[in-house]
Amino acid sequence: MSAATTHDAHHDDHHHHGPDPGVLRWVFTTNHKDIGTLYLVFSFLMLLLGGVLALGIRAELWSPGLQFVDPDFFNQLTTMHALIMVFGAIMPATVGFANWMIPMMIGAPDMALPRMNNWSFWLLPFAFALLLATFFMEGGAPAAGWTLYPPLVLQGGANLPFAIFAIHLMGISSVMGSINIIVTILNMRAPGMTLLKMPLFVWTWLITAFLLVAAMPVFAGAVTMLLTDKFFGTSFFSAAGGGDPVLFQHIFWFFGHPEVYIMILPSFGIVSQVLPTFSRKPLFGYESMVYATASIAFLSFIVWAHHMFTVGMPLAGELFFMYTTMLIAVPTGVKVFNWAATMWRGSLTFETPMLYAIAFVILFTIGGFSGLMLAIVPSDFQYHDTYFVVAHFHYVLVTGALFGIFAGVFYWLPKWTGNMYDERLGKWHFWLSTIFVNILFFPQHFLGLAGMPRRIPDYAVQFADWNMVSSIGGFGFGLTQLLFAWIVLKCCRGGKQATSEVWDGSDGLEWTLPSPAPYHTFETPPAVR
């Protein structure tokens, strides 16, 4: 640790020993903590931007009829909201955690391929600049849904090649990030840090990174086929040329379902770190957690057609995908029970990260249950493309993936900044978010069951009341996120000095480092018990 604690004194000795002054530090940095910070800040900006688009949607749906936007722009809002949240907010945020925490958790000095790491991040601003530029093009932004189904997606304006190129950049970025993470975890662990001693967050990211390497290139292929169908005369998806639009759905969801686990597994990992800390007990069933995560990842490649039960599949196909989908509930259940058992008879305290972790377990499970309902083929025929699906994936993604990210930010913020965040404000953020998010998404279950279709700017008057309730929740949830920005900012600027351990029950290598974590850590490997 001597190098770590004395780095300030030697500041100018060697350029490796502290951050370069000035903004160029952020452009050229290869330091895993800097890059982690860049990812996290970027993803928060995207969260706000995607949130503004979502509020555009909720404003339009406040009451029946068309009030603010025309239908085509409404479709641009839903499409861009989803693309930005998935590829700009959730995924980069989890990569930010990986960068910050994985080297510190496994006792490595940095990521394995630091220069590639810099590149992975810096592709993202360009990708999103391209994607956002489509708003200002003839015909506007992509409007065929984030699933980009042909033939509709091929009938839009000038945006298609730009959106596809942006997706390629995002894909390259996340594949490079994943390769880096895999190499770091497999090659850079401190002596004694065997695979089954790794913190669960590291495990979930290792598995996520493999999912990314396997799934993202398939998506890249699918959008490339769209591109060549539109501009180079191929007909992968055009029936007139002997292709088949349903084929796109198969390829897309072959990527798409693993993608949803790419978004949730890192949050599983975060919650598996937070719950033991505030229960003051080790994680219950550590090994079964590892195996459950691995089986979820494996199964995620053989369930994709549950997104397309209604396209007309043979009965055997419907049954196969129904049963494999339900099978995923088994390892998922293992996880939920392990989390509950971790808390069982622990001496619990309820700091903000713990509150988020508990809310995660409960609300994610609600999303899991609605998923099971959607997995039942005959039910899905009714629920498909209704607000019930919207409610399902927002429970798993907002109160799941995003709440896990919130838990992680509050949990590690003292380690990152050296200051405790304002606990009172943290609790306010938690309660406001949790109450509003349920006001926002729970009524969407009712709307969906009553038959309101998704992706429409106008609706029958019978749906008016719950839509207004949902919109109130939406604006409340959106505004609450400004409080989050304020809490983080306040914590960066000062606050009660954090100890190395930060939390009473913390356990793991990152808590042996001083707070804030020095710029360079574990340059000599730590001893692992």
Partner: protein, 203 residues
């Protein structure tokens, strides 16, 4: 001052690069796999007959098996035009009662309602699942693209045979055609529409 991070040690760096390279190969392979799904999908569709794809046979091959005159199968016809194509398209109104193994002919008719020449492709599909594998065409307007001048109407025949192995449970089958514009040119289509409807478009 410890400036040799372990990542910089040459042997470790080599190991990292080697693993990264292997993962890159996996990435490239998965990109290829995405494309491999295209033929795989075709194969699955052909085996299971779910795409409703029909077979093509020669006149001679079609008539080698015997005619099963003890069986009657009802064949219905459906004619559809994909959105964006301004054609009228009709098939025979009455179902045809056929014997497996015997060659029949049905006449469809298409007219171009737009003000420009249009090239279109008809795509066939046979239901129910399991029937398509036994439905063979000898001659069909769907074998080639069809070009119609503005206002032109053409009778479009299809000669087909249902082979004798068609499962007993199938008493009725449906032959559906959809016409798709083969070289859609969004701008000229929009202009054409605008001209014929007198509406403003932003195409």
């Amino acid at each position: 001052m410890v400036s040799t991070a372990r990542s910089a040690a040459p042997s470790a760096a080599r190991a990292n690069r080697r693993l990264a390279f292997r993962l890159l190969v996996v990435t490239a392979a998965m990109f290829g796999f995405g494309y491999a799904l295209v033929p795989l999908y075709e194969i699955v569709c052909d085996i299971t007959g779910i795409g409703g794809r029909t077979g093509v046979v020669s006149e001679a091959a079609a008539t080698t098996g015997g005619v099963d005159s003890t069986r009657v199968v009802k064949v219905q016809f459906v004619a559809t035009v994909n959105s964006g194509l301004r054609w009228a398209f009709e098939g025979p109104q009455e179902p045809l009662e056929i014997h497996p193994g015997k060659v029949y002919e049905a006449n469809f008719s298409a007219s171009n309602l737009s003000r420009r020449p249009v090239v279109a492709q008809a795509v066939p599909s046979v239901t129910p699942v399991g029937a398509a594998a036994h439905f063979n065409k000898i001659e069909c307007f769907c074998f080639t693209r069809q070009r119609l001048e503005p206002g032109e109407t053409r009778i479009m025949p299809v000669r087909f045979v249902v082979n004798e192995e068609i499962p007993r449970r199938i008493g009725t089958l449906t032959l559906a055609y959809t016409f798709f514009e083969a070289e859609p040119d969004a701008r000229s289509a929009a202009r054409d529409d605008a001209a014929s409807h007198g509406t403003r478009t932003n195409g």
